[in-house]
Subunit: 455 residues, 2 copies
Amino acid sequence: MDYDVIVIGGGPGGYLAAERLAHAGRKVLLAEKAYLGGTCLNVGCIPTKTLLAGAKEYVHARDSAKFGIVAENVTYDWAVMQAWKNEVVEKNRNAVAFAEKKLGVEVVTQEAKLLGPGKVEIAGVVYQAENIIIATGSVPVMPPIPGAKDNPAVIDSTGALGLPSVPKRLCVIGGGVIGVEFASLFASLGSTVEVVEMLDEIVPFMDKDMAPVLRRAMKSVKFSLGCKVEKIEGGTVCYRTKEGAEAKAEADVVLMAVGRKPAVEGWGAKEAGLDYTGKGVVVDQRLRTNLPQVWAIGDVTGKSLLAHAAYRMADVAAADILSGGKAAEAGNFMRYDSIPWAVYGMPEAAGIGLTQQEAAKRGIKTISSTLPLRVSGRFVAENGFAAPGSVKLIAEEGTKKILGIHIVGAYASEIIWGASAVLEEELTVEDLRQLVFPHPTVSEVIREAAWALEI
Amino acid sequence: MDYDVIVIGGGPGGYLAAERLAHAGRKVLLAEKAYLGGTCLNVGCIPTKTLLAGAKEYVHARDSAKFGIVAENVTYDWAVMQAWKNEVVEKNRNAVAFAEKKLGVEVVTQEAKLLGPGKVEIAGVVYQAENIIIATGSVPVMPPIPGAKDNPAVIDSTGALGLPSVPKRLCVIGGGVIGVEFASLFASLGSTVEVVEMLDEIVPFMDKDMAPVLRRAMKSVKFSLGCKVEKIEGGTVCYRTKEGAEAKAEADVVLMAVGRKPAVEGWGAKEAGLDYTGKGVVVDQRLRTNLPQVWAIGDVTGKSLLAHAAYRMADVAAADILSGGKAAEAGNFMRYDSIPWAVYGMPEAAGIGLTQQEAAKRGIKTISSTLPLRVSGRFVAENGFAAPGSVKLIAEEGTKKILGIHIVGAYASEIIWGASAVLEEELTVEDLRQLVFPHPTVSEVIREAAWALEI
């Protein structure tokens, strides 16, 4: 046996699983074909949030006169923003490499191929491992829209991160998280932005009361909802509106952001006999695949395409390997209803658990309350009385158990982890009312929403 | 009987208790001698945070070149900052008045005097009430330092909020929360600031590993620790250093911020036979005083001088009144170890539960981990690699129960509520490790700290 564990893919799921197992004394090989940190660190969360951080500073510097800030000729230097983004990515990538090395994980920058249980081929050599973890991630979906392929005006999110300049006019195809974040970024930097979305609302997994709050808050972005793109000609996106009319978005750059899909191809899944579909590698609550001693984690499972879901999956798979299944018996297995999500636009949005629509679909009777963030003194002090933002709380009618917490507005992404605790520990409305929230904060609107529920 | 409940004092504790009881159909009179919202809303949390919000925007606009922001002649307009502060305070005060009115609370702007159980005198008239809630708050401590009294250069926090201009040189006497927040505010606006603190460290209730992180992060403030102020001459603060040497802080304005004390005088406590000391009105877990049907909540109890502690006390007292004591039997009583605190300087700090020193004092064996915030990609993206900040996690050695969570750095105040859930629900290190935190956030450093504990 060459290794205790071979991990295929060095993104958040893969590198964290390698760390956990190496920390526990296992001999681990981590094979990453491109860059440690995967999509998230290199061309996803981290570079996007770094550019957004700059954009937020710019907007604040530009728009803070009402708070007494005086500044002249406020602008931004896209090249400096890019350089800072690159520095953050590079240093974070180095930090991952350092952590692997320190823990004794052997990292190879090579494609790896699953041959079957216990067998992985790397650069023509077959390695034996007691356990294998698949963490190959996801790839952007490129829909077969006529005129999209080989069109220099059409880019994906990776291209958007490295644009040589801020486009004058940007059309974003797709109003999901990625589309909304880039729309927010470039609109705040002065681009004229139109988002063309096939569905009737942006960010489809958001509660139907909350997505419009986010959409309307992005005042400078034009949203064309219920519109189907038919073709792209240069920078012109031709689409059909909900009513059936033909319409066009004229842009200099077209960002294709219709989603991502599990990377189930190119690494031997089929040949090895792994059970998978286009929606991902099939796994159980312990993240075991159909092949013995082969686990799959992260985006490739299709269960949740979020870096922190991958982290959690890494922990579950590592614990499963280290305990021989006993961790799951003790309750350490995947629970997808208490994984939060966040959108880092201006404003932010975040949520966890069920939307009211999802609860209804599952036949759960719910009660809910929605409060504007302006009931928070801190929110008002920092954003003004007219600033948009809301909290929505959803509880089960009978048990009063909290089922969902949804936020649009400042600090949403940093507030939401507490909601993980609320859902994981199955708190009721009464329990939530008894929690003490610091004053004055935006977070305490959650507490007020708990009191606004009639129970 | 004139009222079901008379509440004396219209601060956060008083007005919220009135709302809860009125919402439940009780006939409530709320007597406030000055302004609805009390210290917190009028001369405490809200105006301070509003000015700090402006100062933060100013610092960001000034210092964001590395993130690509270009701005010329960045400065601030203190008069506009003041006007915005006043607007926020006034509108929030109106919102409280509106809420009371909507719920049918009768509000009188009068001093009220407790005569005994069931009896309150207001403007010469004696009113009968089945229940009385004392919520008279706290007042600033003015130590008898020679030269402090009637010295126009010496102000308290209320004076600091309304200064006609930003002082060139400020000396803050006292390095507690109030002192630190004002030091941070004025230092960021360009004042030369010296904080003179009698104890060896600032913010004495902070963990001894964390307070220095906060102090050192406030680079432009001079902290003179272990120094005893002996007299004030004009704007000159004369003190004796730890080593016994004489020293002086030359300032234009001297801010006295040595703390606040429960307002136990001036409203009849003694005459009514209420049990109290200089440290506050004596209450039990249900906030009952020694007098039948008389409760005390908020700062006046001396249990915790925080607005959100007062909110919680309002809830507990109201539930006790409404349930006739049954709420406490069901677990709804005061628990002071899971009340978070926050300091809103630059950077922020927040915490909950025990410090390692407090745990040791109670004879509890602990394990702990401390991580710098720069392990968070988001923190780095927004603040740079050299920015200060830490998370410290404290757990009980035997049970692995989380006892304390302490943060210095960005978003601390908005992150900490989740720690309330962790402590209230008595989560262990393993439970905390299984919570999913969104990535990339600063909050997830808490998760990493849980993994950094060797259990």
